[in-house]
């Protein structure tokens, strides 16, 4: 078995590699036995960018993050973080990470957990107090600083994990499903934190399947399915199309099937959403529905959402 990478390159400070991308991978592959978890991941995340990494459950998102962090060894391919090869210990001084499976020492207080991470980071001792105070404030845990983590709700533990990931003003932060345990207020807070990171030039690698969240904060996204990237680009690139929602009655299933020539349909009974339709074809669509005996009550073109695009990509992938 290949040894999990743990290297310290000379002049490990990413400062020396400034100008290099925050993340770069070339044909990164990972197999677990006969199962291919990641089938050749090639991507580049520039510094300071908020990058969304999307995919359905089991697509390989967490595997990719673990490979990037050196927690897993790639079967083949290569990658760099902040200009240094994956697994470089020195680079980890400049990286924050909130795991999907977040868990912290239940017998420590929130402050003590953060102190532990300051020690391991390692940050200069003189800065610990300010660092801890700042991140506790950022994640809204100031009042619970001296309470044991064991008494925290899951949402509060996730906030604590986010705080640990923010210690030391990292140059790159990996957030793996950072709002999975949070309420709407918490989700809003996380979006604000991500925007704050972006404003100070920190690259954020956001692993999520919450599309609205990604849509609101990411500069660019990659959609991964079955271990490979099936689409990548800026939000504008990906969401160029228009979705058209039609409220219609009197259509049989066979009629709806015929309407597939107008593109992928999200069929919710009397509400049909055509995921990507040229607005110029709307009159043709309405005429076709009417000729089938359908009664049209509403036609509402709107910009395609990330969810529309995401589902369309996955459907295309299945074909």
């Amino acid at each position: 078995m290949a040894e999990v990478a743990e290297k310290t390159e000379a002049a490990a400070s990413p400062g020396a590699a400034a100008g290099t991308p925050a993340v770069k991978t070339v044909e990164l592959r990972k197999k677990f036995g006969r199962t291919v978890a990641l089938a050749g991941l090639s991507m580049t995340v520039p510094r300071g960018e908020v990058f969304g990494f999307l995919g359905p459950n089991g697509a390989g998102k967490t595997t990719a993050v673990k490979l990037l962090l050196g927690l897993l060894t790639p079967t083949s391919g290569e990658g760099w973080l902040l200009g240094k090869r994956l697994g470089d210990l020195g680079t980890r001084r400049h990286i924050g990470y909130l795991p999907e499976l977040f868990r912290y020492q239940a017998w420590l207080t929130a402050s003590e957990v953060l102190t532990l991470h300051c020690e391991l980071a390692p940050l200069p001792r003189a800065s610990w107090k300010d660092e801890i105070r700042t991140v506790l404030e950022t994640v809204g845990l100031t009042e619970r600083a001296n309470d044991r983590v064991g008494t925290f709700s899951k949402g509060m533990q996730q906030r604590l994990g986010l705080g640990a990931a923010l210690l030391g003003e990292p140059e790159l932060v990996f957030l793996d499903e950072p709002t999975s345990a949070l309420d709407p207020v918490g989700r809003h807070d996380v979006r604000e934190i991500i925007r704050g990171l972006a404003s100070r030039g920190t690259a954020v690698f956001l692993n999520s399947h919450l599309l609205s969240e990604v849509e609101q904060v990411c500069d660019r996204v990659a959609v991964v399915d079955h271990g490979r990237v099936i689409a990548e680009g800026t939000m504008d690139d990906l969401l160029g199309g228009t979705a058209v929602r039609v409220r219609v009655a009197g259509l049989a299933q066979a009629d709806k099937n015929q309407l597939a020539k107008f593109g992928r349909i999200d069929d919710e009974g009397e509400q049909l959403t055509f995921a990507s339709l040229d607005p110029g074809r709307v009159p043709e669509l309405v005429a076709t529905i009417v000729s089938m005996g359908g009664r049209v009550y509403e036609v509402a073109p709107r910009h395609q959402t990330l969810e529309d695009r995401f589902l369309q990509l996955l459907e295309d992938e299945e074909k």
């Binding site: 743990e6 020195g90 990470y97 977040f102 420590l108 390692p122 994990g161 990931a165 990996f174």
Partner: protein, 287 residues
């Protein structure tokens, strides 16, 4: 502070915060109190004619009872070490506790060494503290102190460290409960193999004798226990056993000779090998 010391401190802190140390302290005080009372009863024994036992007989009885008590104490220590070491690494991998820590500039070898050091310190301090307390209680109750008390405590602590090391090695790959159970069964089998070796010595059967030798090499817990026994025996008893020749060396609760120097050297190498193997095993584990 280097990461391995941070992790060692964290391991000790966890035991303290989870009240393991408090539980051990209370249990130890109760056991030492009861055993002191029991040992004191030896001094009240009389011969058939109603006269008190002579000091030599009190010392002999005390030494034998002390061996039995120490056997149980070392067993509890080894069992505790195995149970605590079983989930030492696997538990934190499975729960995700190590994920955020390993994303820091921390080598996996530092995690292994730090955790071992933390628990080893606890085992050593507990063995020294509880053992000294017990010896002090016996001395107070009977006036008997084993001839080599320091060596006794070192051997008992080393036996605990053996189980801790095996448990931790298994913990790098197996779940906590599996690692703990395997370590415990290995310890029992090593003790039984040692008894088989003694029987082989008594019967002058080379094959059976080799079972004991091999078991001492694979898992030196029983060999170290024999060292502890030797440290507890009065010189008169050792002389009597030596006089009996092979038959005198066939008792699993007695030791006519101290552990050979080669064996003690092997124990040092064994610890180095098991720790190295643990580091390699954890470094090559994907989490």
């Amino acid at each position: 502070m280097p990461p391995f010391l941070v992790i060692a401190r964290l391991t000790i802190q966890e035991s303290s915060r989870r009240r393991l140390l408090l539980a051990l302290l209370i249990l130890t005080l109760v056991v030492v109190g009861f055993s002191a009372w029991g040992f004191n009863k030896i001094t009240t024994l009389t011969r058939a004619n109603g006269t008190p036992l002579p000091p030599e007989q009190v010392a002999l009885l005390t030494s034998q009872l002390l061996i039995v008590v120490t056997f149980m104490f070392s067993g509890v220590l080894a069992l505790s070490a195995a149970v605590v070491a079983g989930p030492l690494i696997s538990g934190e991998v499975e729960s995700g506790l190590l994920l955020s820590m390993l994303a820091r500039p921390v080598r996996r070898s530092e995690v292994v060494i730090g955790k071992w050091l933390g628990l080893a310190a606890l085992v050593a301090v507990y063995a020294a503290g509880a053992g000294s307390l017990e010896l002090g209680a016996v001395d107070w109750a009977t006036g008997y102190l084993p001839p080599h008390p320091v060596e006794l405590l070192v051997f008992v602590a080393a036996e605990g460290l053996v189980l801790l090391s095996v448990g931790m090695l298994l913990s790098t790959r197996l779940s906590g409960i599996t690692a703990g159970v395997i370590a415990l069964v290995a310890w029992l089998m090593a003790w039984i193999a040692g008894v088989v070796g003694d029987i082989g010595t008594g019967l002058q059967n080379q094959a059976l004798e080799n079972v004991g030798v091999v078991s001492h090499l694979l898992l030196p817990s029983d060999g170290l226990w024999r060292g502890a026994i030797y440290a507890m025996e009065p010189d008169t008893l050792i002389a009597a056993m030596r006089a009996l020749g092979a038959a005198g060396r066939a008792n699993p609760f007695a030791a006519a000779d101290p552990p050979p120097t080669q064996f003690l050297a092997w124990v040092v190498i064994w610890f180095a090998l098991v720790l190295s193997l643990s580091i390699w095993s954890f470094r090559t584990r994907e989490i």
